[in-house]
């Protein structure tokens, strides 16, 4: 599942998956602007069939945060 997450983020930010890690964030990825972060959350919601709360959206600073939110929603990311 982690791979699925990375592929999705890589596609939206238009960066190779190999360049992504838990610390990837708007600071480390230039294309991660505010619009792309809406787009990312939007597509995460439809991909994982869930909905993030407004607090979760605000608190999302990097990929580790996204993983944490998904886990809280009961979505298990292997590897």
């Amino acid at each position: 599942m982690s791979k699925k997450l990375y592929v999705l983020i890589g596609r939206i930010m238009d960066v190779p998956v190999t360049e992504l890690n838990d610390n990837s964030s708007p600071e480390t990825i230039p294309s991660w602007d505010s619009f792309n972060s809406y787009l990312l959350l939007d597509e995460l919601e439809s991909e994982f069939q869930t909905e993030f709360s407004i607090d979760e959206v605000v608190e999302t600073k990097n990929i580790a945060d996204i993983k944490k939110h998904l886990k809280n929603h009961g979505i298990v990311l292997d590897d």
């Binding site: 238009d14 505010s34 619009f35 809406y38 787009l39 939007d42 439809s46």
Partner: protein
């Protein structure tokens, strides 16, 4: 229809290069809210139709300023089409949330004021720009603080917004430069809860959720395709399991499904929607492997058949392969293959068509016939910006064409045939009645077109009002009926001694009848009467205008440098078979 997510378009647009296609159009996008992603989506979708997308995106909620300011980026960009997206929240302001903080009378005044502001803004835009304007109407909210009492309230919240929409539509109904996109209906179709995403709104003032931007772009693309004249003109239909259920050759006249039961009703429903398209000018044709007699018996005599023989401009009911039939239909109707849509229930036939003739739009039909009419209703590409008298009478004209062809096969000499047609060419100048059709012909005529210059209605109007130009058109009538306005010519008379033919075109419908020579004879005699020494003309080759390639040399024009020239003083004969009428 859009199946891809917005991120697909965001990425794909990076690989869309500028200036790769012949077809170009300049689009301006203005809005009262965030429309990020729209630019990218539209660019990709336009490139899929081989259109160069030159798009200007107005700054966030700056549409007022861009329209009011002289020399704004918008005006310097000189768009052909401008889309203005406004939303109910922005227009109503605080009243959107508290409509019942004021009286009915005040609500009414408020709407009048808001409407007047927008109307003035639109008129300013029209004065400063030649662009057509497409403006979204307002979404009528589904919520009301009054709840069920809403519809018992005088000039209530929902009524206010509907009234605004009605005013907008009425005001610009007759204005050819302004089109209202029914955004309210768009929301109805996909659902308010889908189109509006509260989080996206709170975070980024996004009022059309990101998932639905590709769908809205599809709607806007229709205006672009229509404006460029890239319109589908003919639906080609299979018969068995497409227009009726079952196989006529096996199940027989009484065994096929057509009305009488749910499956049979699905085919009747499909035919009813086809008929409506036919009535607005979309031609229908049949491409079916069948015994002609069996099929015609159903078409002529089946009590539940909606489409009858007269609804079809071309019948290819035989045992030839469908691709050969399609090519013949294209030749007989004189349209390029990209003007055709193909409906066939058999996936093998569809695959054969797609791989052999990719220009034809082959529709992916599901096995379930109940979906046919829905698919047809959602099919894009038939839209035109105007529906002229010629459009609604097109079917009749093509039937007359069939009669002419029958006459032609009985007559040996072309001259005799043309004489028997009793051709009359009525010449008209550009005026409010003819301008929409003149523009339409310049936009979509490809084959018999010397220069293929495309002119929007506004352009034609300008040329018609310019004393240095003459814009003329011709209506062609024969003993089988009226072909309508089917030719356009534009003469540049700036140099009093040397005229230039700017545009000369003939609809494929009336090709091969010496009409072009009759019109040229008129232009030459007009030049002679005005003591013009020379008439210049150019042939600009395109992929499609080969039929007019030798027209100038055949008419006695001589090649001179990069142009063609004829001396009006010299004799030029009006073809015997044509009577010319000047209006």
């Amino acid at each position: 229809m859009s199946n891809e997510k917005l991120s697909y378009f965001m990425n794909k647009s990076k690989s869309v290069k500028d200036a790769t296609f012949d077809k170009t159009i300049k689009i301006a996008l203005l809005s009262s809210f965030t429309i990020n992603g729209f630019y990218e989506t539209l660019r990709v979708k336009m490139s899929e139709h081989q259109i160069d997308g030159n798009i200007h995106v107005g700054a966030y909620n700056q549409y007022n300023q861009e329209i009011l300011k002289n020399n704004s980026e918008l005006y310097n960009f000189k768009p052909n089409l401008t889309f203005l997206m406004i939303d109910t929240r922005t227009i109503l302001g605080e009243i959107f949330y508290s409509p019942y903080s004021i009286s009915a009378e005040e609500r009414k005044k408020n709407i009048e004021k808001k409407f007047l502001e927008l109307k003035n803004l639109i008129n300013i835009f029209l004065n400063k720009s030649n662009s057509k304007l497409i403006i979204t109407n307002l979404h009528v909210p589904t919520y009301s603080p009054y709840g069920l009492y809403e519809t018992k309230t005088e000039y209530g919240f929902h009524f206010m917004v509907s009234d605004f929409n009605k005013k907008l539509e009425t005001e610009f109904l007759k204005n050819d430069s302004v089109y209202i996109f029914n955004f309210n209906q768009f929301v109805s179709k996909y659902g308010n809860d889908n189109i509006f995403n509260i989080k996206q709104f709170l975070f980024g003032d996004i009022k059309i959720s990101l998932d639905y931007i590709p769908f809205l772009a599809d709607e806007f693309l229709n205006y672009i395709l229509a404006s460029l004249g890239l319109t589908k003109r003919c639906i080609v239909l299979d018969l068995d399991n497409t227009l009726w259920g079952g196989v006529i050759g096996e199940d027989g006249f009484d065994g096929i499904q057509l009305g009488s039961n749910p499956q049979g009703n699905a085919y009747v429903e499909f035919q009813k929607y086809l008929l409506a398209l036919n009535q607005r000018g979309v031609l229908l044709a049949i491409n079916s492997k069948n015994n002609l007699e069996d099929a015609l018996k159903v078409i002529d005599d089946h009590p539940n058949m909606i489409l009858r023989r007269d609804n079809f401009s071309c019948l290819k009911i035989n045992w030839n392969d469908k691709v050969s039939n399609m090519k013949e239909i294209s030749q007989e109707l004189n349209f390029g293959l990209d003007n055709f849509v193909f409906f066939d229930d058999d996936p093998v036939n569809r695959e054969f068509m797609k791989s052999s003739l990719p220009q034809v739009h082959t529709v992916n039909l599901p096995k379930d016939p109940s979906q046919y009419s829905i698919i047809l209703q959602n099919l894009k590409g038939f839209d035109t910006l105007t529906i002229t008298k010629e459009d609604s009478e097109r079917n009749q004209m093509y039937l007359e064409q069939q009669n002419r062809k029958e006459l032609q096969s009985n007559v040996v000499e072309l001259d005799d045939f043309l004489k028997q047609l009793e051709l009359r060419v009525s010449l008209k100048s550009a005026n409010e009645f003819t301008i929409p059709r003149i523009s339409q012909l310049t936009m979509k005529t490809n084959q018999f077109n010397l220069t293929t210059k495309r002119y929007q209605e506004e352009d034609i109007e300008k040329l018609a009002n310019n004393i240095d130009f003459f814009v003329g058109c011709a209506q062609v009538i024969d003993k089988f009926g009226d072909n309508g306005i089917t030719s356009v010519y534009i003469i540049n008379k700036q140099n009093k001694k040397e005229w230039i033919i700017d545009t000369f075109l003939l609809s494929c419908r009336v090709m091969g009848r010496e009409i072009e020579k009759a019109i040229l004879a008129h232009i030459i005699s007009d030049a002679r009467n005005n003591n013009v020494d020379k008439i210049y003309a150019n042939y600009i080759p395109t992929q499609k205008n080969k039929p007019i390639e030798n027209f100038l040399s055949n008419c006695g024009f001589k090649h001179e440098k990069n142009s063609w020239v004829i001396i009006p003083k010299d004799d030029f004969k009006l073809p015997d078979c044509i009577k010319l009428i000047e209006e």
